[in-house]
Amino acid sequence: MTYKDYLDYSKLPTIFCPGCGLGIGLRAILQSFSDLNLKKEDIIFVSGIGCSSRIPGYVDFDSLHTLHGRAIPFATGVKLSHPEKNVIVITGDGDGLSIGGNHMIHAARRNINIKVFLFNNMTYGMTGGQASPTTPLKKITSTTPYGKYDSDFDSVELLKGAGAGFIARGTVYHYNMLLKVIKESLIYKGFSFVEIITPCPTYYGRLQGIEDPAKFFIKLKDFVYSIDQKDVLKEEEKKDKLPIGIFKNERRETFEEIYFKIVEDLKTK
């Protein structure tokens, strides 16, 4: 099997703009399924609203495109209805960290075994390039014409603070590394969070002065450094860049494990 077997070609091409990175991320996720031999009937995609959240429309298995910010609680309902399935949340920086931030941190705390893939393009693509919680300070967007007034979340730090057990970040530019990280997260038992940095050439790219989507795509590599290099690189070399890699991979009892153990205990009582 390859990624192709998980795609619903009848719905392609996607609605994504030329050079949008979302398709690459989708490909990496689907390739991971193939590499891990997941069956289509065992996978369910759940997303919110945004360009990234339109991804689930293109797959050849169950998918639930929900409300802006609410993918995680919907996924919670789906997962506990079908605890044996792989329930995977596809979300964006706006969907998952702005309006949906509360569900994100609570899911991390609650530790239900759902997998979150958050496509961070540092903007609201779908609605026209407004500032998002991950747009860095001082950047120009359609709602910060004089530079952004407030700092961005470092989602890795936020998820750590909320108690997530698996936390990683990759980019669509670093395809093979991304593939690896996604597979690790799928193997992990419990709530996992993977941020996928991806370009929105149409809005974010243009607003940063880069008209050519392919050029903006190539620039992604300047957005990040590898966490393996953390101690090697100088401070200036890391300045305004985000680390990529796996930041945490610690197993703890999942909600389901605790809950269904109680259910068992009650039966014997």
């Binding site: 609605i15 994504f16 703009c17 030329p18 026209g128 149409t202 809005y203």
Partner: protein, 183 residues
């Protein structure tokens, strides 16, 4: 007097921009005008469409029943909105890469012109295709003065020189055609 214009093409071709430009310029001339558009992912390369009504009476309701002028920069978009093309509709079409020989257009006055080619030839990019076509249209319709368009362009500031140049290219295109025809 009431004229209905349809502008359509691929997202990113500046369809909305020229429609707005036309409509806004009508206001300068103390005519009434309304511009509307479809709001589907236009920036993303999907089909884009805008309607403009120009009238000497106030416009109560902005819906176009059929077009007096239908400007299409791609074939796909023309076909998508073909129900707006009636017998009396004049069609402008960019034939740089595609030709147009549709059955349903047999009765229409059609101008097939290489707007994109001109833009590429003169500016080395296709960005000015839309304004060139507007220049042609303005001359063709003769409802709005050239000057009003240029004034509006000037107010917008951004890239005024090239826009004006492109606009005049369109006007010249019409003039040339006229000469050819008359010749």
């Amino acid at each position: 007097m009431r004229k209905n214009f349809i502008f359509t093409g691929k997202g990113g071709q500046g369809i909305i921009f020229v429609a707005t430009l036309l409509s806004q310029s009508a206001i300068i001339e103390n005519l009434h005008s309304v511009q509307t558009q479809i709001y589907t992912a236009a920036q993303r390369g999907d089909i884009s469409k805008s309607e403009v009504i120009i009238s000497d009476e106030p416009i109560d309701y902005p819906k176009i029943e059929n077009a007096d002028f239908f400007i299409s920069l791609t074939k796909k978009s023309l076909i998508k909105f073909k129900e707006l093309i009636q017998e009396n509709t004049t069609v402008l079409f960019d034939n740089t890469f595609e030709d147009l020989n549709e059955d349903f257009l047999t009765k229409n006055k059609i101008y097939k012109l290489p707007f994109t080619k001109i833009s590429l030839d003169i500016f080395n990019k296709n960005e000015y295709t839309n304004i060139i076509s507007l220049g042609f249209l303005i001359k063709l319709t003769d409802i709005i003065k050239e000057d009003s368009i240029i004034k509006t362009l000037e107010k917008m500031k951004k890239d005024f020189e090239n826009n004006k140049k492109a606009f005049l290219l369109g006007i010249n295109l019409y003039k040339k055609l006229l000469v050819e025809k008359e010749a």
